[in-house]
């Protein structure tokens, strides 16, 4: 089960509201490489992981991503706090505003609602962990791009933290592949899928 901790993993305190930044940062909440998809990817893949290190790692990184969802949502919430209709118009936020007012919704920067089609659960150790490596790289690039677009130091402080976590997760998933390989057929790791085939 899960229990809520009434605090963030990293402090978020954005002095200057700025809805224009929220328009694209929302993508790391419910976008194609965002934190919602990340947490569901890992928390769903873990059921077909045959080895304890992999079960533990996918659980722990999946839970951390839930905390990152909260960080990104907090950034969006604080950037749009107390905004007026004039500020909505100036930021070009009308399409979002008309559907969600100042609520925080899981969507891409482009406006597409979050979709489970952004991630896979293949039920195969090497395939799923290879997807996870790619997922961490794509999230890292999205944070790079946010840093290119944002000049708010309070926002960027949090984004730099989140970006570095993607680097750490990439490293751990890479190590997880090696730990899996050590337990598989050394002459042909694709001989069977240890999550399904009984050998």
């Amino acid at each position: 089960m899960f229990r809520y901790e009434k605090k963030l993993q990293y402090p978020v305190n954005i002095k200057n509201p700025n809805p224009a930044l929220a328009k694209f940062i929302i993508s790391q909440y419910g976008g194609p490489d965002g934190e919602l998809g990340a947490s569901l990817r890992y928390l769903s893949q873990r059921y077909s992981m045959p080895y304890p290190e992999l079960r533990g790692l996918l659980t722990d990184i999946g839970v951390e991503e839930l905390g990152h969802m909260e960080l990104v949502a907090t950034i969006v919430h604080q950037l749009t706090r107390n905004m007026t209709v004039e500020e909505v118009k100036r930021a070009g936020l009308e399409p979002y505003f008309v559907d969600h007012t100042a609520g925080v919704y899981t969507q891409f920067a482009s406006g597409t609602p979050w979709t489970a089609a952004t991630f896979a659960v293949k039920g195969d150790v090497i395939a799923d962990l290879t997807e996870d490596l790619a997922a961490e790289q794509k999230a890292r690039v999205t944070y790079d791009n946010i840093l290119r677009l944002s000049d708010d130091p309070d926002v960027n402080n949090v984004i730099r933290f989140l970006r570095e976590r993607e680097v750490i997760h990439f490293q751990r998933f890479g190590e997880a592949i090696e730990l899996a390989r050590e337990r598989m057929d050394r002459r042909n790791i694709y001989a069977v899928n240890p999550a399904f085939d009984r050998v």
Binding site: K7, Q9, Y10, N13, L57, T74, V167, I168, R186
Partner: protein, 155 residues
Amino acid sequence: MHENQHHHPAPDFTPEHRTGILPSDAPLAVPFVPFQRDNPPQYSPEDGLPRGTIFPGLDLPWQNTVNRSQPAAGTPLGEIMALEFALYDLALYLDTHQHDTHAIEMAEHYMSLLHTARKHYVEQHGPLSHDEAIRDGKYTWLQDPWPWEYQERRG
């Protein structure tokens, strides 16, 4: 450049702290990431939290720009965040390095500091979890602030 960031690559701790180990019998057609060596150098929890990792060898910032500090540094909640973060980064490390006794000792040390810090925090500022949320016969869970709210100075 803002006071809260600076341009700075990760410092050198040991010659090999930025390199890992590849298997000697690496077969074809499998992705490989070098394995992080056991007992790697670590930042303190206070230095690790703003950088997003306690491991200097994995500290690879965009444009070499890193956070000098985190916004809650020096506050009671900032201390708890730093300790819990160090423990979480260590937990992911231990998931793939479960026999590293030095990392286990560090985790035990941080757990003991965290236990004390949380106890003091909850007494003065309110609950962080439901099992800390009843105090003197009162339900304290609902008291402000919630974590996502903007605070002039949080902690």
